[in-house]
């Protein structure tokens, strides 16, 4: 993995990876359910199929977040140093980015699971 993803990612954008995965997962869940319920039988699926598909998507999303979390953890030096990471150095800036990204991965992980909970209980399109 190290060969594919360089250790030095010099950008602020990585911070938003995990929340973006959450957003994508959320959007797909919502749109898929909305289209399914508005046009029953769309693409020949049943509701159970839809739940399994979205469940699978949830696992993929969680895997992505875990991967992003691992990279963030690595950027954070595997927790070698404690916060606050407030020294005026490039290293501390990177540690801060790693730690903040890791926290966001955690939040996104929980949020994706929350989004998936309704799939357990709701079996039909009733309003």
């Amino acid at each position: 993995m190290k060969s594919f993803i360089p250790r030095e990612v010099e950008t602020l954008w990585t911070l938003f990876t995990a929340p973006a995965v959450w957003a994508l997962h959320f959007l797909v869940c919502y749109v898929a359910a909305a289209i399914y319920c508005a046009k029953p039988g769309f693409l020949g699926l049943g509701f159970l199929d839809l739940r399994w598909l979205l469940g699978g998507l949830t696992f993929i999303a969680l895997a992505f977040i875990v991967l992003a979390g691992y990279l963030a953890w690595r950027q954070w030096g595997f927790g070698s140093g404690d916060p606050p990471h407030d020294e005026p150095t490039r290293d501390d800036r990177k540690l801060f980015q790693g730690f903040a990204t890791l926290l966001l991965c955690g939040l996104s992980f929980v949020a994706v699971i929350y989004t998936a909970i309704p799939l357990i209980f709701l079996a039909e399109c009733q309003s």
């Binding site: 319920c37 005026p88 800036r93 801060f96 903040a100 939040l107």
Partner: protein, 839 residues
């Protein structure tokens, strides 16, 4: 920690420097004062205007409370009551809560970041004037009985009914669209300012938390406001030209408006809440006398809230009959957003636990904010649960909930901020004694007013009722609420009185009266240059950790201590590490911003009354004003390539492409524009989902013309890329030729795009399908027309010698626009051309 430091110049040289700085940054006097663009002036006007609107809306609230004090009251007529509550909500949200944060940000951010100015001061001024004009227009309507009267949410088909809503709905739609322009302008200003204008050495791990919050909020504005602008567009097309977007009989659907409105409306709550909590994040460390505990956690909270808040909008639509599974997704996200919100509160508590707390008036308001906001948050957890919301929705329970959230999460922290930052603004403190009285009146009054509403609501009292029968048992609740509301208002009046009372005899406070650690307390409020010299930052709390910082700054021993070039200049630094990159020249006092804002205001106001000629004249005037502004104020070729910035370092005065602030401004604006476009595309597919045959049996635009249009725009875009390439090779004539060819192709593309629906005689008033096709084609064509103007501008700049191989900002920015343009065109024409064939 000492670091780099310039020489200490003799007194007379320093005074000469100061005089030059003062002259360059001088605020005009007399009536030309209003042409000022200084962030301290604009921030002040912005804040005062927002507060005046707030007091106005507060008076409306008191009228509402008087009417509801007793059952079967006849104090207000039903119609006036409906106007009053509509305007109360509208003004508080659009003219107070959002603008006040823009005001505070414009006012404080440069000082916090150690910058002289934000990168686009004239844009701030333009935003302020737009806001003020639009606000007066919207508020003034009630004095003519013409205020909007269908709720701040403007649900069609009630609000699209011209007979029942009169001109009020148009005033709402157009007045607020105009104000949204100001918000997006502020978002551009803040994002670029925070990313690129921090003091050297202020890495992202050292930014003041206020800046982190504002960065996220500005980003949220870019994605939250444009859907409402798109919705406003559809809405006005229905009201003015009878295009049936929300008319169920002709294939439209009232729910589309609810989606677009709440995609804006819910993030807006967090756009209001985060900046206020950002103030708390500055206040709490100061009064705990230690750095914040959990800086990264705050970043987590801000970013997390920013994202999650876009997954909540349907919780305003839990009773519209959407499938339960959809509701449940949004319920889950609504609960998830509690986590980052809770983290912020615990960060404050942790910071206080680890510090030695001084309990002053700002902290008192902070404590009140917390006590109130947590109740609002807990009721928020309740209403986010779908089954409970089925009962609570649209009742006084929700009225109580939202006021607990907004007053606890916004008004109390802002009041804390007023007490905290007042010395920053004029060097004197507000009265402690009056502050405590005001606090207790506000705190007690608020709870007396709003706590009973929870029970009135669950006892069955719906929102927005102008009267209620006596036998329902709501009378006591309402009477208590009314009394509380007046106590609350009295408390706030004390704050206002304390702020405006003359303080000439009061002794000035110390320069850093609270012993705060952040940069803004270096401010010399009597000077308008922002900061005497731009320091190198080495701590999150430089005033605590960098000894002699104030003295060295005021002695001019850091960057840009002089204004010998006679321009307003500030330093641009890199995004992550705050390494200095450029000396940026910013615009000074000017009429053009005000004139442009007034003319644009004219466009919107004339549209309201459907005075077409005035609209056209004002629109042309606005265009000319903006072109003049750009021509004379942006991408100026400097007299020298490099500028000595002090400390023996030299930086370029002119950069282009992604290194320049202008490029980022264009990028950010176009992201917002792209969001509005995405909302329209969402509308197209929304109608597809709700109908078996979304074309309603109407003819489409065919695939030939749309595909031709898409191809023409792609080739035109290619020509623009070629033009930029030729320019870097110093091939001026090739560049001009490419632009000219691209210009012709664009004209052809616009024509081809409109030909599809035109040739198939699509009649937009018959059914929503032709209306959506037309609106997409018109949207893209309008963007094509803007592209044309930009191409002509580039040609003119090139012939005038302002656009050369080395000085190519204009061309870079226009090519960036073209990236978005070609995306818009391709998506539009593939959608309207191919989707009906494919389905």
């Amino acid at each position: 920690m000492t670091g780099k430091l310039g020489p200490l110049l003799p007194q007379d040289q320093r005074e000469a420097q100061e005089k030059r700085l003062r002259d360059v940054w001088e605020t005009p006097s007399g009536w030309r004062y209003w042409t000022s663009v200084n962030n301290s002036e604009i921030g002040l006007w912005y804040g005062c205007t927002a507060f005046i609107f707030m007091l106005f809306a507060g008076v409306l609230a008191l009228l509402i409370r008087l009417q509801l004090a007793v059952p079967d009251n006849t104090f207000l007529s039903a119609n006036f009551f409906n106007q009053a509550f509509t305007l109360h909500g509208t003004v508080m949200m659009f003219l107070f809560a959002v603008p006040i944060f823009e005001a505070v940000a414009i006012f404080l951010l440069p000082s916090m970041l150690g910058a002289r100015e934000l990168p686009f001061p004239r844009l701030s001024a333009f935003g302020f004037w737009s806001f003020a004009i639009g606000g007066v227009f919207v508020c003034g309507s009630i004095f003519f009985g013409a205020a909007p009267n269908s709720g701040w949410f403007m649900y069609p088909p009630l609000a699209t009914d011209k007979e029942q809503t009169g001109i009020g709905a148009d005033i709402w739609l157009l007045g607020l669209s105009f104000i949204e322009v100001a918000s997006i302008a502020a978002a551009v200003e803040l994002i670029v300012g925070i990313m690129k204008c921090r003091a050297p050495g202020m890495r992202v791990n050292m930014m003041p938390l206020f800046a982190w919050y504002l960065l996220i909020v500005a980003g949220m504005i870019l994605f939250a406001f444009p859907p409402l602008i798109a919705g406003d567009l559809l809405f006005e097309m229905q009201r003015m030209f009878d295009w049936p977007f929300f008319d169920a009989e002709r294939g439209g659907d009232p729910l589309l408006w609810q989606h677009l409105f709440w995609i804006f409306g819910h993030p807006e709550v967090y756009i209001i809440f985060l900046p206020a909590i950002a103030l708390m994040a500055m206040i709490v460390p100061t009064f705990s006398q230690r750095p914040i505990v959990g800086y990264s956690w705050i970043v987590l909270a801000a970013v997390g809230t920013g994202f999650l808040s876009f997954g909540l909008w349907v919780h305003h639509m839990f009773t519209t009959g959407l499938p339960q599974i959809s509701l449940a997704f949004f319920s889950a996200a609504s609960e998830a957003v509690v986590i980052p919100t809770g983290v912020q509160i615990f960060v404050f508590i942790a910071t206080m636990l680890a510090g030695r707390v001084i309990f002053s008036v700002p902290m008192l308001f902070g404590a009140g904010a917390l006590a109130i906001f947590i109740i609002g948050g807990l009721t928020g957890v309740m209403v986010a649960l779908v089954p409970f919301d089925w009962q609570a929705h649209d009742t006084y329970f929700v009225v109580a909930h939202l006021h607990y959230v907004l007053i606890g999460g916004m008004l109390f922290p802002v009041t804390a901020g007023i007490y905290y930052f007042y010395p920053f603004f004029n060097g004197k403190k507000l009265s402690d004694a009056w502050g405590k009285i005001a606090f207790w009146l506000m705190f007690v009054g608020f709870n007396v007013a709003f706590f009973p509403m929870h029970f009135a609501g669950l006892r069955g009292m719906p929102r927005r009722v102008f009267t209620y029968p006596a036998e329902m048992g709501w009378d006591w609740f309402n009477l208590i609420s009314t009394v509380g509301a007046f106590v609350f208002a009295a408390g706030f009046l004390i704050v206002v009185a304390d702020v405006v009372r003359p303080k000439t005899r009061q002794a000035p406070a110390k320069p850093n009266p609270w012993n705060a650690g952040t940069m803004e307390w270096l401010n010399q409020h009597e000077e308008s240059w922002g900061i005497r010299s731009i320091p190198i930052i080495k701590s999150r709390y430089p005033l605590w950790d960098q000894p002699d910082l104030r003295k060295n700054i005021e002695d001019g021993r850091y960057y840009l201590p002089d204004a010998e070039t006679g321009h307003r200049e500030t330093l641009v630094t890199s995004v992550l590490d705050g390494a200095p990159q450029q000396v940026l020249r910013v615009g000074g006092s000017s009429y053009v911003t005000m004139i442009a804002a007034f003319l644009l205001g004219g466009v919107f106001i004339a549209l309201t009354y459907e005075w077409w000629w005035t609209t056209i004249i004002c629109a042309i005037g606005t265009l000319i004003a903006i072109l003049y502004w750009l021509w004379t104020g942006t991408a100026q070729i400097p007299e020298a390539e490099m500028r000595d910035a002090g400390l023996g370092e030299r930086f370029p005065l002119y950069v282009s492409g992604p290194a320049s602030v202008g490029w980022w401004a264009m990028f950010i604006t176009m992201v917002g524009d792209g969001t509005a476009f995405a909302s329209l595309i969402f509308g197209y597919f929304f109608y597809w989902t709700i109908h078996d045959d979304f074309t309603g049996g109407q003819v489409g635009p065919g695939w030939q013309w749309p595909l031709a249009a898409a191809a023409l725009f792609v080739i035109a875009w290619g020509c623009m890329l070629l033009a930029r390439f030729a320019n870097t090779r110093n091939l001026a004539s090739t560049m001009r030729l490419s632009i000219a060819v691209s210009l012709l192709l664009t004209i052809a593309g616009i024509a081809a795009g409109l030909m599809g629906p035109y040739q198939h005689a699509m009649e937009p008033t018959l059914h929503v399908y032709p209306a959506t096709v037309w609106i997409l084609a018109i949207w893209t064509s309008t963007h094509g027309a803007v592209a044309l103007i930009m191409q002509l501008y580039c040609l003119a700049r090139s012939y005038a010698g302002y656009l050369t191989a080395d000085y190519d900002q204009d061309l870079c920015n226009v090519v960036l626009y073209w990236h978005f343009m070609v995306f818009t065109a391709v998506v539009t024409y593939l959608t309207i051309g191919l989707f009906p064939e494919l389905r």
